[in-house]
């Protein structure tokens, strides 16, 4: 990995955080993923954002709908294995046209060590699209920040349900 790529690979969480703050996100729900570590820490340290740790990802889909009912914008963080857990709960934002912004770190697609990550990694985009979620994808840090900004506008301003897939290539090889 080139040095410059490694630098941007460490700064994108802060830039995504600033983008979400600029979009007035007030709630962040998450099941942890190594790729989301820095972003989760930034939300946990932010007294203006209610950061909610989940036992399973679909909880966050329902929280996002409740937040919007109460006038707040939210973001949901998960890894690709969690996207499968969300499918039926996504009926709620799809039927209610609730804004939804999911940031999904991908596994099972680039230099993956664990074969158990592969099936859901392969199914993430088609499964989300099948239930009616708009899927966007970024494999470069700079493109990711821009994509999150565009996805946030689509979600909150145009009442869309959007998942941004963060490519495993961008996240780098998992250290074992």
């Amino acid at each position: 990995m080139a040095e410059g790529t490694r630098d941007s690979a460490t700064t994108w969480p802060a830039e995504v955080y600033r983008t979400l703050k600029a979009a007035e996100v007030r709630q962040a729900a998450y099941v942890p993923d190594a790729g989301h570590t820095a972003l989760i820490d930034l939300f946990l340290a932010d007294s203006e954002v209610a950061a909610t740790v989940l036992t399973t990802e679909e909880e966050g889909v329902a929280i996002a709908a409740g937040a919007w009912l109460g006038g707040q914008r939210s973001v949901l963080l998960m890894q690709s294995s969690g996207a499968g857990n969300c499918i039926n709960m996504l009926s709620l934002p799809v039927m209610g046209r609730f804004p939804l912004l999911m940031l999904v770190t991908m596994r099972g697609e680039w230099a993956e060590f664990n074969p158990w990550q592969v099936p859901m990694g392969r199914a993430t985009q088609p499964a989300l699209e099948a239930i009616g979620i708009r899927v966007m994808r970024a494999d470069e840090p700079a493109l990711l920040v821009e994509t999150v900004g565009a996805a946030a506008a689509l979600a909150y301003d145009s009442d869309q349900q959007v998942a941004v897939l963060i490519g495993q290539r961008l996240l780098g090889r998992k250290k074992w």
């Binding site: 036992t55 919007w68 009912l69 707040q72 709620l92 209610g96 046209r97």
Partner: protein, 199 residues
């Protein structure tokens, strides 16, 4: 575990009516199936959000709403089957610790929408004990209208943390009282009640 027969003779409609009778500006979210019909039968209101699906989502819609509206109180009215699907939500809500959220499980110990199959609460699972173990500020099982009437007014006030009430009711099926199934309409009506623009 052998199914146990429900011993409650309390009507679910009477139970929900008693629960909502002292309601002031409480925001209410309902779980799919009979709890949605019960709350609608008690009176359709702009500050009700009815779920018709998304099983397992009611308590967590309540959590997101409670976190967004810390100065308001939120009540989730759901069923035992719906809450059982959200078993983990008891950990999530207890960890989040909202002082303005209460959950009432209208527990007939059966899956009433699908043929009255016995649920886990009819096989000995004590949801109030689970909520207490998770760390809810209050967790109790209520068995008659007097017990419901004793806690119902307190739902208008904040507490030390999230509250959880199981209300044991008879496994009856009163006539459906159906709100709009248009989730967008109900959403926009609810948000307009809180002063937010439609959309």
């Amino acid at each position: 575990m052998t199914p146990m027969s429900t011993s409650s003779t309390l009507s679910r409609r009477a139970a929900v009516a008693a629960l909502l009778a002292p309601r002031k500006d409480l925001l209410v979210v309902t779980g799919l199936g009979s709890p949605t019909y019960d709350v609608h039968a008690a009176g359709d209101r702009d500050d009700n959000y009815y779920l018709w699906g998304a099983m397992g989502g009611a308590a967590l819609v309540g959590l997101g709403l409670a976190q967004a509206q810390p100065k308001r109180r939120v009540l989730v009215v759901t069923g035992d089957g719906e809450q059982l699907m959200a078993f983990g939500s008891l950990a999530t809500i207890a960890a989040a610790g909202p002082r303005n959220l209460a959950i009432a499980v209208i527990d007939n110990q059966h899956y009433g929408e699908t043929g009255m199959q016995v649920s886990h609460t009819g096989r000995g699972i004590d949801l109030a004990a689970v909520a207490a173990a998770a760390g809810f500020a209050a967790a109790a099982t209520l068995r008659n209208e007097a017990e419901i009437a004793a806690i119902a007014p307190t739902l208008n006030e904040p507490a030390e943390g999230p509250r959880f009430y199981v209300i044991k009711v008879a496994a009856d099926s009163p006539p459906r009282s159906m709100p709009s199934r248009d989730a967008v309409f109900i959403k926009n009506r609810f948000r307009a009640h809180l002063g937010f623009a439609a959309g």
